[in-house]
Assembly symmetry: C2
DNA sequence: CGACTTGGATAGTTCTACTATCCAAGATTC
DNA sequence: GAATCTTGGATAGTAGAACTATCCAAGTCG
């Protein structure tokens, strides 16, 4: 198919597709003549993937490029591509600088849980940053406050990883991991807010502050 | 204190503070003369809150304004302010339009869980949108796939709501709810990613796709 | 043959979150 | 009390992100 059909079937405008091509998010089609190229089903799938990452996952174009670059590097084994993709998904500059010691505190908790703390120092820093932000706002919390949250996501993550690896090709595994991480993240947070509304509504009226 | 001290103590530049004043995120100080005003500790606290919402929570200025506007409306009881704040936090235009029927499907699940589905139709739509996005990418999922996620956040949300209401003033309760929702959301997703890395690392090498 | 399409390049737009500059009134310092 | 900040308020400018529009020469289709 050519670009106009790709645009029609994906719902993405031609200028935007050209933009994604320029940015390297979408691999170039196979050229048929000097000024024309052919696109396949994988381009359509990739476009859907891009839209989901951008719209549902709120990823930036540059984070997305990190993922697609890893996908494009044929030499990398699945596990490494997953790592790269995972790191690309996690890029978020921490606005609140972590106070000294908070990273160690978080790392100690993770050690205790048996999780590798060296896997991704950026995420550890993010947790430390969240902890520091809470303290700056006057919340008397330590890393133990994160324990129930860790417990809650542990089993979820196990199933997700199992599902990601349960496929035949490297690209499928990476796509599953990326989609699962991003989409189910919004599912998780949406459900959490609904659960909060549910429990907030169940509070007896007397417990409410007038 | 005057603006320069507020800037020094908060770490936010004077032009930015002026910007927040213009945007109505920060209430004006009490004017001492025609061209000067006095700011208090609550302004400092509000600035910290704003920075956490923007930096940790990735909220937009307009979403933040929704929260601060609700806080500023003295007539609203706690529960309503929480509702407004909650809705302001949830604004995210769903890029993938939900397919027909998917909202009903999600609503059915929520009903079964005993959660009010009418509380916030926007969040239900968001879940429906996520479901549609997954299907568009070829995942054979239905709303039941969300069940373990709902179970995981249920107890978390219960504790969070209890903590938010366990305070003396309306503003404190709202601040707790907002901070808790936003900061612990990043905690939750960061921990989920660490848990994924942990379980991915535990996979036997043979199970990895080359 | 002539209208339309294509890939590629370049420039322009919209939105968000600031940042810079200016100004007159007031405060501070000498 | 004069000279030098500082302040609050207004207005304009900036950087980055994610598109969007326009142009063009080469090629395709009826």
């Amino acid at each position: 198919m050519r670009i106009s059909e790709l645009s029609r079937r994906s719902g993405v405008s031609i200028p935007t597709i050209k933009y994604y091509l320029r940015e390297g998010l979408l691999p170039a089609g196979t050229p048929t003549t000097a000024t024309q190229a052919e696109y396949g089903e994988q381009h359509l799938q990739r476009l859907h993937l891009i839209r989901v990452m951008l719209d549902v996952g709120r990823l930036s174009i540059s984070a997305l490029r990190g993922v697609t670059d890893a996908l494009a590097d044929e030499r990398l084994p699945t596990h490494d591509v997953l790592g790269v993709a995972h790191r690309a998904l996690a890029v978020r500059s921490l606005g609140v600088p972590p106070e000294p010691g908070s990273s160690t505190e978080v790392a100690a908790l993770l050690d205790e849980l048996g999780w590798q703390t060296d896997a991704d120092p950026a995420i550890v820093d993010e947790l430390a940053s969240a902890l520091s932000a809470l303290r700056r706002l006057g919340w008397p919390v330590d890393a133990d406050a994160f324990r129930p949250y860790a417990a809650a996501v542990d089993t979820l993550a196990e199933g997700e990883v199992a599902y990601a690896y349960d496929t035949s090709t490297r690209d499928d595994a990476v796509e599953r991991a990326v989609v699962g991480t991003v989409v189910f993240e919004t599912v998780l947070t949406a459900l959490r807010r609904l659960a909060q509304a549910h429990h907030s509504g169940r509070r007896p009226a007397g417990a409410r502050i007038p």
